[in-house]
């Protein structure tokens, strides 16, 4: 197994899928068809932050994919592996943008899909104050619903903001995890590409709060690595595409912790087979220290439960 080749393969798959999606959409709707995510001033935020270019039409996306293609260089150096990971992220954003451009409501309950600017602004203050000590991106499929719930609730009780991608959403629902923005658990979508909506949060945080100039890719990566305390938990078998997404996360400075056997990279790509230690491993990997005052009460206690509504049936 060659980790870099896996990443490069995944990036090429993502790129091919994005190209297919764009050309299919153009065939149906024409080059001039509008492209936009709802409620954002940052166009396609990842592409905008990385290149400084705003995407307005499907035709623009074709051009963007040429730039993305330029990021995939199969030379076996970390720099190229990370760039390929970013390429995957940008391809994912293109695919998601095509969804929003061509489908009326691409996401429905429980999935959130694209996160709007106002929500990101509302998250800004608690992120800066450390009230939200970290951002967990949980994707894939846990061995069972209980494990998924245990891990998600653990993050919740520590006040982290948790995004869910893939089958783990169903597992969380099955295990009765209460979700919603105010509860700091946000299911994004079932497709791997929907993970871009959390990347987009980190990227817009850099643009909004970091005052970063669009197009300053190095500055962006530095900001996310230093200021956005995010990490990824990837469960279940990892496709080349997912590994390639992981490289994108690592490029942004977000460690990836998985339950699968992979070629580990210290501090960045770690295998943890003991689910009881998953949360501690992840927090340590991202350097998140939580000031805890344990209160011995029989229910979970954290800021994440502040917005919880008690319904009649409960």
């Amino acid at each position: 197994m060659n980790l870099y080749n896996t990443i490069f393969n995944g990036s090429e798959q993502a790129l091919a899928a994005a190209k297919g999606a764009v050309s299919e959409a153009i065939e149906k709707h024409g080059r001039e068809h509008n492209v936009a995510f709802p409620d954002t001033a940052y166009s396609l935020p990842c592409i905008y932050a990385a290149t400084g270019q705003k995407m307005n039409t499907l035709g623009d996306l074709e051009g963007a994919l040429t730039i993305v293609e330029g990021l995939v260089n199969r030379t076996h150096l970390l720099e190229h592996a990370l760039n390929a990971g970013l390429a995957t992220a940008l391809s994912a954003e293109v695919i998601e943008a095509v969804k929003y451009a061509t489908i009326d409501a691409p996401y429905s309950e429980p999935c959130a899909g694209h996160i709007t600017d106002p929500i990101i602004r509302s998250l800004g203050v608690p992120l800066v104050t450390g009230d939200i000590p970290g951002v967990a991106v949980v994707l894939g499929e846990c061995p069972d619903a209980e494990t998924a719930a245990e891990i998600i609730k653990n993050y919740q009780s520590k006040g982290l903001l948790t995004f869910l991608v893939g089958k783990v959403i169903d597992q969380a629902i099955e295990a009765d995890v209460k979700m919603g923005l105010e509860l700091r658990v946000i299911p994004l979508g079932y497709d791997v590409t929907s993970v871009i909506h959390v990347v987009s949060v980190a990227v817009r945080a850099a643009l909004i709060f970091g005052g970063l100039n669009p197009g300053d890719l190095a500055g962006l990566l530095d900001y996310t690595a230093k200021r956005v305390p995010a990490f990824v938990n990837a469960f279940g078998p990892l496709s080349e595409l997912v590994v390639s997404c992981g490289a994108g996360a690592i490029a942004l400075g977000f460690p990836v912790i998985t339950d699968q056997t992979v070629l580990e990279v210290p501090m960045n790509l770690l295998t943890q087979k003991d689910y009881d230690k998953f949360v501690a491993t992840s927090l340590e990997a991202r350097g998140i220290k939580i000031k805890v005052t344990e209160i011995p009460i029989p229910v979970s206690f954290a800021a994440a439960f502040e917005g919880e509504r008690i319904r009649k049936n409960d």
Partner: protein, 640 residues
């Protein structure tokens, strides 16, 4: 040719101008007057081992008088170089082992690393429970001293190699038995009318060289750590700019730390410091040169004045009160250079007396007193310094040094996730190699050689390797070159590509890490061996290589040979005297691949050599990654 073109070190160039002005002859002058060197010698086809000769091989005289052909002559000459190199390292080690046997609680030499000693004692079956540490030390020292001439068995440290490697040594009958015995056997077998088979001569050379790497040098390193402390990470500086204007400048040159450690101690003696002030100096400034310099910079952060090619140039500054030397790589020309200035050239070892020097014998029994006498001599000489003749070149670079195996593991612990892994292993390094974040690790070692431009090949190759995500470890004068050119600083990671730069940042190391002196090449063997054992692979399976870009001494030949015999490909920037025998060339560069899994490769162009290494590391990775995958599949099957 302009002499200044013969080195890329700007301090050296300035000192060459000064030497010309002062009418001092240096190695660079002698190199130019040597003109074209003899082709027979360069090719290794000249034989002087009996009085019927000298014989030389030409198309018209294809055999020597005894009938030895070019392969036999070249092979014998090569084997004797290996024997000499092994002898040098091993006598060095013997000295240190003797010093350990003299150690005592209230003596000059004490035990600094008890843990290392106790571990070694346990490895060697020495009783450690409820025993005085010095009793243990003396018993361990005796066992080590027996390694030089024990009548039975093979060297103890061979068992530290991966078992696959030990089997190869056994299969090809190159397991060294006793160190001196292997050296003597070579001298015997290369006598007139003895071995006349090139394969056998190369095998003898490998066996003898292994008695250096896994014998003499390894003993030298481990025992020095036990006696003087295992190096830890520290800051220092390098190049002639470390000499001070108004201090008594003492240069420590040579190899054995038994002397230099005592000089370090003596230079801190309050009485002697007071004497220096009495003489009008601000204090005593110790600086190192060559491998003694590496030893004291690794353990005390003593600054490095320069490398092999700068030994005369240091004196040319006119600011050196004493050049204190012991053994190995000391230009006899120093006696003459010192005469042109006030510098006292002080020899100390009965193993290396030099005509024209001041001889003050140093013995381990009276070590500190001897050291004080020598330092006093230097201090008293301060008044003789001719200020008119002083010119200290200003350049110096900061360095981070002290990377023993333990210090490396200590740094690696910084990136261990405590929820997953234990601290204190090479796993983080292994993971970086497996994932490809680091493409490989290359040891850049060796000397300076007047046949190439001083420091150019070292620096070119190191820079090229780190630009390709290859971690560089360095020892000897390679380390001095790296230090002088700023490669031993943590900031140097800006010269590295992303993978290596990231590793350097996380682990908090420079992209080129200083492992010590030439005997400390054994540290490289230890690290590669640990990595191989961690992966349950042989050393020849790991994407690592050794390179001696500017090698010169017979010690370098022994080092290169034991590195190849340990399964690590070795690249040379200077052609060894073997070109006269196509069979020897074929064995060294090809056939050895089939037996020991590694070969020599030679290219005198440093840029090309660097590219060769990088390409070969990538080729090796294909093999390595296949093995990694096999092992992962095996584990998965076991788990299932």
């Amino acid at each position: 040719m302009d002499k200044k073109m013969m080195t890329i070190d700007l301090n050296s160039q300035a000192m060459l101008d000064k030497a010309a002005k002062d009418g001092v002859e240096t190695m660079y002058d002698r190199k130019l007057s040597m003109k074209a060197q003899c082709g027979f010698g360069l090719q290794g086809t000249c034989c002087r081992i009996c009085a019927a000769g000298p014989c030389r091989i030409t198309p018209k005289t294809p055999l020597g008088l005894c009938g030895a052909d070019e392969h036999v002559i070249v092979g014998r000459n090569f084997a004797r170089m290996v024997a000499a190199g092994t002898a040098a390292h091993s006598d060095h080690a013997r000295g240190i082992a003797h010093t350990l046997s003299l150690s005592s609680r209230d003596g000059n030499y004490t035990i600094k690393d008890e843990v290392k000693l106790v571990n070694l004692a346990k490895e060697w079956g020495v009783e450690t429970e409820d025993r005085d540490i010095y009793d243990i030390a003396h018993e361990v020292a005796d066992i080590a001293l027996m390694e030089f001439g024990k009548p039975h068995g093979v060297l103890n440290f061979l068992s530290r190699a991966p078992k696959q490697r030990q089997e190869i040594w056994k299969r090809y009958a190159i397991e060294p038995r006793a160190i001196d015995r292997e050296i003597a056997t070579i001298m015997h077998s290369t006598h007139m009318g003895c071995t006349a088979d090139i394969d056998s001569l190369i095998n003898l050379s490998m066996r003898t060289s292994l008695s250096d790497g896994w014998g003499g040098s390894m003993i030298g390193t481990i025992f020095s750590d036990i006696l003087f402390g295992t190096p830890t990470v520290r800051q220092s500086e390098a190049n002639l700019g470390v000499l001070e204007d108004n201090k008594v400048n003492i240069i420590l040159h040579g190899h054995e730390p038994s002397l230099s450690e005592m000089i370090v101690l003596a230079s801190e003696d309050p009485e002697l410091v007071a004497l220096a002030k009495e003489m009008g100096a601000d204090g005593i400034n110790l600086a190192g040169m060559c491998c003694t310099g590496n030893e004291v910079t690794m353990r005390h952060g003593v600054r490095t004045a320069g490398d092999f090619h700068q030994q005369e140039l240091a004196i040319v500054t006119g600011a050196v009160e004493a050049m204190i030397v012991d053994v190995q790589c000391i230009f006899p020309a120093l006696a003459k250079v010192a005469e042109c200035y006030h510098t006292k050239f002080i020899t100390t070892s009965p193993k290396a007396k030099i005509a024209g020097s001041t001889y003050i014998e140093f013995t381990e029994e009276t070590a500190l007193d001897d050291a004080k006498r020598i330092v006093r001599e230097a201090i008293l000489n301060f008044k003789n310094r001719d200020k008119e003749k002083v010119e200290i070149p200003q350049l110096k670079s900061s360095t981070t040094v002290g990377f023993s195996e333990q210090a490396i593991i200590g740094q690696l612990d910084r990136v261990v996730n405590s929820q997953i892994d234990q601290a204190g292993t090479v796993k983080p390094l292994v993971d970086c190699l497996k994932s490809g974040v680091l493409r490989g690790v290359v040891g850049v070692v060796g000397c300076n050689n007047a046949r190439s431009t001083s420091n150019k090949a070292h620096v070119t190759i190191m820079k090229e390797l780190i630009k390709n995500d290859i971690l560089v470890v360095t020892t000897g004068c390679g380390a001095s070159a790296a230090g002088k050119f700023g490669l031993l600083t943590k900031e140097a990671r800006s010269m590295a590509s992303k993978g290596l730069a990231t590793v350097c940042e996380l682990v908090d190391i420079p992209p080129v890490i200083h492992l010590g002196s030439c005997v400390d090449c054994s540290r490289i063997l230890s690290v590669v061996s640990e990595v191989a054992k961690f992966l349950d692979m042989d050393m020849c399976d790991i994407p690592v290589a050794g390179v001696a870009p500017e090698w010169m001494s017979e010690k370098a030949v022994a080092i290169g040979t034991y590195v190849v015999a340990s399964g690590i490909d070795t690249y040379l920037g200077i052609m060894p005297p073997v070109a006269g025998s196509d069979k020897t060339v074929e064995i060294l560069t090809q056939t050895l691949q089939d037996s020991v899994g590694a070969t020599f490769k030679v290219n005198e162009n440093p840029e090309e050599l660097a590219q060769m290494i990088i390409q070969d590391i990538e080729k090796k990775r294909v093999h390595f990654e296949k093995l990694v995958e096999e092992k992962m599949n095996e584990e998965a099957t076991v788990e299932a």
